[in-house]
């Protein structure tokens, strides 16, 4: 992946030298053409086309923003309710992610979902202990959200 980005920047610079125009606009045009060429020859590399990964990162960022917004609304609803009708609890969530940064991102995303909070990570990095604000109605729904998070993170690290 890093090689592809490096090659793309290299091609953009070659384009600038060909055009003898050293402006950012020329760089971007050269970068665009380089991207096109690398896309055409994407099967030539042992790794995937790097724009896929960039798109996955953008997707993850959008999910992050959406969940941040929804979690604040959900907490607001609980706060404004006259009776405190919640059932807190802690459950274990087994995760398939292995890299340190993947687990960190997953934990942060879970913390930002409505009504859940990562309390601890097991020493072997296999299980996340999650505190849920409302354990009976969220258990299944939250699990499905986590699956989508885990999938989105795996798309990035694939």
């Amino acid at each position: 992946m890093a090689f592809q980005i490096l090659l793309n920047v290299f091609l953009a610079f070659i384009w600038m030298f060909l055009k003898t125009s050293y402006t950012p606009a020329t760089f971007f045009i050269g970068y665009f053409f380089g991207l096109l060429i690398i896309f055409t020859f994407r099967r030539f590399f042992s790794t995937n086309f790097y724009l896929n990964k960039v798109l996955a990162v953008i997707k993850l960022f959008l999910i992050f923003n959406k969940e941040l917004f929804l979690s604040n609304i959900a907490v607001l609803k609980v706060i404004l309710r006259p009776k405190l009708n919640i059932k807190p609890g802690i459950f274990a969530l087994p995760t398939e992610l292995t890299e340190d940064w993947e687990i960190t991102i997953l934990a942060n995303l879970i913390t930002l979902t409505p009504g859940t909070l990562v309390v601890d990570v097991s020493p072997d990095n296999k299980i996340l202990y999650v505190h849920a604000m409302n354990i009976d109605d969220t258990q299944e729904a939250i699990d499905s959200i986590k699956n989508s998070f885990e999938k989105a993170i795996m798309e990035v690290s694939r």
Partner: protein, 140 residues
């Protein structure tokens, strides 16, 4: 005896992209400077020939699963379509239109339908060259 082509293959991996970029440069510079669809297409197919020299035909078709005969058809369609577009606008066949547009990144750019015609030439040249070379290469 099968020789080890690692040096050729590694150099190809980098030069290939530079050659293709240069062919794109030649293609777009054709209106004001020497270059154009023919030489651009020829140089692109030259890059693919370099790929064929460094690897075998099977690897190259795996990298570029393109039917070059269809490419010829697409190129001819492009050029004929540009000509027919003039007929639809009520002008003689192959009359080209152009205009100056201020694009966000490129600045003042002249958009000319001759580029579309040249794209057709570009595709046909790549298609014909690669069809010839692959047909010769595949026959025993």
């Amino acid at each position: 005896m099968k020789t080890n082509d690692i040096i050729l293959q590694t150099v190809t991996k980098v030069t290939l992209f530079v050659i293709i970029l240069f062919s794109i440069y030649l293609f777009f510079t054709g209106h004001y400077h020497p270059g154009g669809g023919f030489i651009g297409g020829l140089m692109s197919s030259g890059a693919i020939v370099l790929l064929l020299l460094a690897y075998d035909i099977k690897t190259v078709t795996a990298i570029l699963p393109v039917d070059y005969k269809k490419m010829i058809g697409a190129g001819l369609l492009f050029s004929a379509g540009t000509g027919t577009g003039a007929l639809i606008a009520g002008k003689p066949f192959l009359t080209h239109a152009y205009t100056y547009v201020s694009l966000p990144l490129l600045g003042k750019t002249s958009l000319h339908t001759a580029v579309l015609f040249d794209t057709g030439v570009f595709l046909v040249v790549i298609g014909v060259t690669m069809t010839i070379i692959q047909t010769i290469g595949e026959s025993e």
